[in-house]
Amino acid sequence: MQWQGFLRKDDKLGIRNRVLVIYTVECSAFVAREITRLSASLDVECIGFAGCTDNEYAVRLLISLIRHPNIGGVLVVGLGCEYIQPEWLANIAAEAGKENAWLFIQQEGGTAATIKRGTVLVKDMLAELQQTRRASMQLADLVIGAECGGSDYTSGLAGNVVVGRFFDNLVEAGGTAIFEEIVEAIGLLNLLKERALNPEVEAKLVYTYQKALAYCKSVRQYSVSPGNFAGGLSTIEEKSMGAFIKSGTKAIKGVLKVAEKPPEAGLWLLDSTPDPHWMQFGITNPNDSEGLIDLISAGCHLVFLVTGRGSVVGSAVAPCLKITGNSDTYQKLIDDMDFNAGKVLTGECTLAESAAELSKMVAAVAAGSLTKSEELGHKEYFIPYKYQEKTLTLPPKCKL
């Protein structure tokens, strides 16, 4: 399976060629959204950070999206007094060889003037992006992320099981797979340890697990919700196992932080849980959209959202492919669901056949066909205030 990707300055390949309109504070969000709406193109998306005061985590996340291979151009819209500097972000886009521009609403002369100027800038960028060089791409070039939302009993029996098998195939083909939700590994410490590539990775997995457990204890909230219980899951341990299955069976190569790229191909765990800090823990995993944008910040070209009960969200920057293990949900939400892994449960196909079918769909989406959420115009994202270290460094042994 081969298709044409979009070649970037760093030789990375993208599967979309999009313009990102970024607001740097809530005060410029309306103007950025209007520019996006009036551009009336599927290839123009809006994203941003709402806070006025500084947050390194959020800025790193925005930078990672600017550098993302699916992005060809960036327009940064600021109000004029916030911490995050639009010009600085536009320069990062320039260094990455992308179309770029920035605006301060206070300088442009208000809402109407900024929207007018912004839509012209975006239109010019879209025209320039027609010239983006194309290059052949295959499964080995892909970085794919997976998380689950709205889990029910089918997630652990079919949806995540099929993703796990697909991830095994992807890793064998030389590609990169990223799974997250360490808070949904509670109860599985021994399994995590067994999957570590080497003792150093094992220590990182144990450290990350213990941090997630301490986090859950301190906020008195485990990653399990009323709908999960109503759907038949009785405990976080049961949900954890259903979720962890999506990682497949390959060795885990390491732990990534949000906005950190995997240094090489293979299977990686993304830790999106806040690190302990003077502000204490924030709320992690506020919703599925946050998890998806975290995966995309690690460079995922495409993300899977595995659901049992159903979900309708999509994602900005990288297409979201929604998979359900529940055939009833697939039929009921047919306009939103991309893939029915439930056929494994009804006996209509084997696990291997379902994973192969998913591979074909991934290649088609990578080649340009739209996912259901893209067709419907879903472009969700969620970037909260959070504290996280840039990369995982283990504390000295005596402290472990």
């Binding site: 029910d152 485990y222 009323p226 219980f229 976080i236």
Partner: protein, 110 residues
């Protein structure tokens, strides 16, 4: 009557997952099951768990071949296994939720 089916993931599991709503009658076991059939002794909602053997209070509940919690009361073979008779080893809050809807009952929001 349509054949009732439940799915046993690992042969060491002491619960199986109902693939449809079960009534008190014979249930065919799919998956990695030692026994072919089990008798359900009560109604069990789709996606919920049925006990494959008698489980004493305090004993582990095994699914996927791993411990997913422990029994908080004696459970008989064929019974429904959920929040009313088992609990997480980690999460104390979930045992307080409504057994049918999962809705929180421990916080008065107003």
């Amino acid at each position: 009557m349509k054949q009732q089916v439940a799915f046993q993931i690992d042969q060491n599991d002491n619960v199986a997952t109902a693939l449809m709503e079960l009534t008190a009658a014979s249930v065919k076991l799919r998956g990695d099951a030692k026994q072919k059939y089990i008798l359900a002794s009560e109604n069990i909602p789709q996606g919920h768990k049925i006990a494959l053997k008698d489980i004493k209070s305090g004993q582990q509940i095994i699914k996927y071949g791993i411990v997913i919690g422990q029994a908080t009361q004696d459970i008989k073979q064929g019974q429904w296994v959920h929040l009313h008779c088992m609990a997480s080893l980690y999460d104390e809050r979930s045992s307080q939720l409504d057994v049918k809807t999962g809705v929180p009952q421990d916080i008065k929001y107003e």
